[in-house]
């Protein structure tokens, strides 16, 4: 069973995403900001990270950079309301594997997760 780290400062989004993943057979761990995500990643060694961008303490782009510095093989998919072209390019440049713009359809998220977990 693949383990997914869900990172979002919005409890509502964490609950929604975690429920969807658990219902589809994934193990889920959560973090509510970018700094917590880095600590959780080191402790849990998840197969994939779903990362919001706009978060307090440490934003998703900085967290992504720290994760990739710690583990160059870290698989991170950005899941964010910020879908501007400039943001997508910045995330991909920092090492994101994929980019999903909120609001997402459940199938869209599951397909992206499946793809990365099988890669």
């Amino acid at each position: 069973m693949a383990k997914i780290l869900v990172v979002d400062d919005a409890m509502f989004m964490r609950n929604k995403t975690s429920k969807l993943l658990q219902e589809n057979g994934y193990e889920v761990v959560e973090a509510s900001n970018g700094e917590e995500a880095v600590a959780r990643y080191m402790r849990e060694n998840p197969d994939l990270v779903l990362m919001d961008i706009t978060m307090p303490v440490l934003d998703g782009i900085e967290s992504l950079k720290q994760l990739r510095a710690y583990d160059p093989e870290a698989k991170v998919v950005m899941v964010t309301a910020l879908g501007q072209k400039s943001m997508v390019l910045e995330a991909i440049k920092a090492g994101a594997r994929d980019f999903i713009v909120k609001p997402f359809q459940p199938d869209q998220l599951l397909e992206a997760v499946r793809k990365q977990c099988e890669a």
Partner: protein, 157 residues
């Protein structure tokens, strides 16, 4: 005076989100300009905008409306406006503003957003200092929602 290119993306993204995610029929009242200091709703989501356009966007509503919208997003009735309900309402503001930021970028304004903040209470006065705000009044089956856009722009790239 606020430019249409700064306001239209919010109208479009709000209609899209409310119709698609809440299945809500949405109607828009007349847009109006307000001074920077005015009384807000009982529940207000504030999101800061920086970059080529800067200021703040507010989503203002009564607690009753906030509970109804949060209930529709979460999928269950919300008797008390708790942390989960706050989070759902904040995320609504985050997503509408995020989608609007895509539209702003297409008009040449590259922007960053702050995480949402919830300001609650009766008779709260919020000042946007020297930036006038344009009010987009929306009627939903859940109640009334005002989107207040207080942005000023640098010249688009």
């Amino acid at each position: 005076m606020l430019k249409a290119s700064l306001v239209n993306p919010f109208l479009e993204s709000a209609f899209k989100f409310l119709q698609n995610e809440l299945g809500a029929e949405v109607s828009r009242g007349s847009l109006r300009l307000e001074e920077s200091r005015s009384t807000s709703g009982e529940v207000n989501v504030a999101i800061g905008v920086t970059g080529d356009a800067e200021g703040i966007v507010l989503y203002c509503m009564s607690e009753r409306t906030a509970k109804a919208i949060a209930g529709a997003l979460i999928g269950e009735a919300i008797p008390v406006f708790d942390r989960l309900a706050e989070s759902a309402i904040a995320e609504m503001g985050n997503i509408i503003t995020g989608q609007a930021a895509i539209g702003l970028e297409q008009h040449g304004y590259v922007c960053r957003l702050s995480p949402p903040t919830i300001i609650s209470g009766k008779g709260v006065v919020i000042s946007t200092l020297d930036i006038q705000r344009l009010i987009i009044p929306l009627e939903l089956p859940f109640g009334h929602l005002d989107i207040c856009v207080a942005l000023r722009s640098l010249e688009p790239k």
